[in-house]
Symmetry: C2
Subunit: 223 residues, 2 copies
């Protein structure tokens, strides 16, 4: 049985039962299920005010995009994760542009941002929840910033390989050097050079299929 909007909102939002029946009805009326094919843009390229998103299945990637097309991944959104940035048009003081793409075929619920904001403003539990959700994203973004600004590239790449391997639940990371560079806000050449070094040390195997972790124990020394 595919999930309904009610299934999603009632199971993901911890304050759902505390809303008035009228507020619940309003949210349900202004929320719809939507699917995106792998690789398609969900928010930030054309659409500037997408709405409040809950991921039902699949995976979204939120990243910063420079005018020249340079990217850096800020966070990933998996099942049951919220995306508030895509509703930033109505969230006061959120003024930066983040781009959100579907990394796999992805199903989401999408709530009208004005409705979401209005219901939130009359429900303190929802405000606390939003404040905490924004804080969590803020912390993730600052972590990425610290990594990017302060860490040496060998450490960042090793860290990325472990994260991807966990995310894909596989020893092999099926990404091109170009794609890894985009995730890390680096250049393809820099990624290729470091992977070649890791390979020469016997830590990973680089093939057409992707990058395979061979010696996790020694690769961990780089973290």
């Amino acid at each position: 049985m595919p999930k309904t909007v009610l299934d999603v909102l009632s199971s993901v939002l911890p304050f759902w039962e505390k809303l008035s029946s009228e507020d619940r009805k309003t949210l349900l009326e202004h929320t719809r299920l939507q699917t995106y094919a792998k690789g398609s843009n969900v928010h930030g390229r054309q659409e500037k005010c997408t709405g409040f998103i809950i991921v039902v299945s699949g995976q979204l990637r939120a990243y910063l995009l420079s005018e020249e097309g340079k990217q850096i991944t800020i966070y990933r959104l998996l099942s049951n994760d919220l995306c508030l940035m895509s509703a930033s048009c109505v969230l006061k003081n959120i003024s930066f542009n983040i781009v959100v793409d579907a990394e796999t075929d992805t199903a989401i619920t999408l709530t009208n941002p004005d409705i979401f904001d209005a219901v939130s403003k009359r429900n303190p539990e929802m405000e606390v929840y939003l404040r905490e959700a924004i804080s969590a994203r803020f912390s993730e973004a600052m972590w990425v910033m610290e990594q990017t600004l302060f860490n040496k590239f060998d450490k960042r790449l090793a860290n990325f390989l472990f994260e991807e391997s966990a995310l894909e639940q596989s020893d092999t990371i099926v990404l091109t050097h170009e794609q890894i560079a985009a995730h890390l806000g680096s250049a393809r050449e820099v990624v290729s050079r470091m992977l070649k070094y890791f390979a020469s040390e016997g830590l990973v195997k680089v093939s057409r299929k992707g990058i395979t972790l061979l010696d996790r124990k020694r690769l961990k020394y780089y973290l």
Copy 2:
């Protein structure tokens, strides 16, 4: 007449009048005035849970600090600005460490973070206010991140010179190249080289006193 804690809280916090008289009393009892000499650390080096801060006078700088001592300025706090990061120990989901120093002699009010959080949780207007304050800091931090990751250094330095000049209300920025490098998360040599280039173009004058903006119009081309 020096300001009292009541003066500060009632004038800066827009929700003050909406709090119950008991909540106002509780906040007043757990808030104190405190002063810091120029250059001293306010939060994040020894003290991990300083509290909720409002700047009364002076100027604070919030920055990320790497293990190797590299810094990057995230934002400045001037009179009437709030610092929530210094209360992050009680704010759920804020997990990164930010360091806050006094850039000039600075007076603040400091509120016990547990009390602040408890009062907030029973006052929806205060929650909305906190959510918006955190969002504003998040946006500022992301702006810095975009600048740092995506912008060319000439643009970043020109931008910094304009900002400092506005902040100091002077054409001359009294900072060493070392200090500018710390603000921008760069190296002294990189700053000196770019300033030398700007000077050779007649845009700025570099002297022992600092950096003087000579031709704002042409320096703006770099923004």
